[in-house]
Symmetry: C2
Subunit: 139 residues, 2 copies
DNA sequence: TATTGTTATACTCTATAACTATA
DNA sequence: TATAGTTATAGAGTATAACAATA
C-alpha cells in the first residue's frame, strides 16, 4: 500500500472533527432509547444475524474483557442480547441480538445515520462523489 | 437550506461508520497519554488561546454541568487546564489550557489525526477533493 | 500451560437533586 | 427570580488482578 499522501492529513483531520462532534451527539441520542453510549456501541457492533464472541466484542470496543461482562450483563437483563456457549470451544460465549434487540438497534442506526442538514450543501452529484470516495477509504 | 438530498444517507452512514471506529480507537490512544476518552474530548474542545466557559464545555460534550465539574477538577489537578472567574459575570468560570495542557493537546491531536493507511487508496487529487467536500459539510 | 470469560476492587464518568453565589 | 457552577449521591463504564472452566 502507498503512503497516505499529501492531503491525507487534511482529510483525516476533518474526519476526526466529524467523529468528535458525532461523539458529542451520541449521549442525547442514546438517552432517547434509554441506552448509554457504550451500549449503543455494543448494539452497533452486533449486526443482526451475526454471532459475536465476547472477546471479539472487546476487541471491537478496544476495552478489557472484564468490562464486556458488565455491558453484556445489563443488555442481557434488558432482553436486547443473549449469550450462549459456543459449540466448538466451550470457553467462548457468543452474543446475538434478540428480536427486541434487533428492533432497538434498527432505531438506533436509523437515528444515528439521519444525515445532518449540512450535507444538503452538496449537490446530489457531489454527495454521490463523497460516497464513492469514502467507500474506497473504508474498503 | 435545502433538504439533505438523495445520497446524503449513504454518505452520512459511512461517516457514522468512520465515527464509530474512531470511537473505538480513542481508548488506546488516550491511554498512551494517561488520559481518559472523556478527558481527550475536553482537551480537543479547548483550543489553545481560547477561553471556554464551563457551561459551553458542557454543551460541546452534551453532558450535565455537574459532570464537567469533575472532569475539570481532575484535569486541573494534573495541571493541564486552569479555571478562572469571568470578569464580566462572576458566576461564570472560564477554562484555558496551561502550557503543559497545550503540549498534551498537541500530542493528542497529532496522534488522533495521523491518517490511516487506507487514505492512501485515494490519489492526491481525490484526497484534495475529499477535503473540499468535507470542508463544505463542516461549514 | 494457555486462553475465555467472570469476580472483586477501585477509580472515572455520568445524571439528578439540592445547594451557593451571582445576576 | 433565574442562572453558573458545586456538592452529594447513586449507578454505569473501565482497568487490574485473581480466579474458574476449558483447551
Amino acid at each position: 500500500m502507498k503512503r497516505p499522501g499529501p492531503h491525507a492529513c487534511d482529510a483525516w483531520q476533518m474526519l476526526v472533527q466529524i467523529s468528535m462532534s458525532h461523539r458529542a451527539s451520541l449521549p442525547p441520542l442514546a438517552s432517547e432509547l434509554a441506552l448509554s453510549p457504550a451500549q449503543c456501541h455494543v448494539l452497533h457492533v452486533l449486526e443482526p444475524g451475526r454471532a459475536v464472541p465476547m472477546g471479539e466484542l472487546a476487541g471491537a470496543l478496544s476495552c478489557d474483557a472484564s468490562n464486556v461482562t458488565g455491558l453484556v450483563d445489563r443488555l442481557e437483563t434488558r432482553g436486547l442480547i443473549k449469550r450462549q456457549p459456543s459449540a466448538e470451544d466451550r470457553r467462548v460465549k457468543v452474543l446475538t441480538l434478540t428480536p427486541a434487540g434487533a428492533r432497538v438497534r434498527a432505531q438506533l442506526v436509523a437515528r444515528m445515520t439521519a444525515p445532518p442538514m449540512t450535507l444538503g450543501r452538496l449537490s446530489p452529484e457531489e454527495q454521490q462523489l463523497l460516497v464513492t470516495l469514502l467507500r474506497r477509504v473504508l474498503e
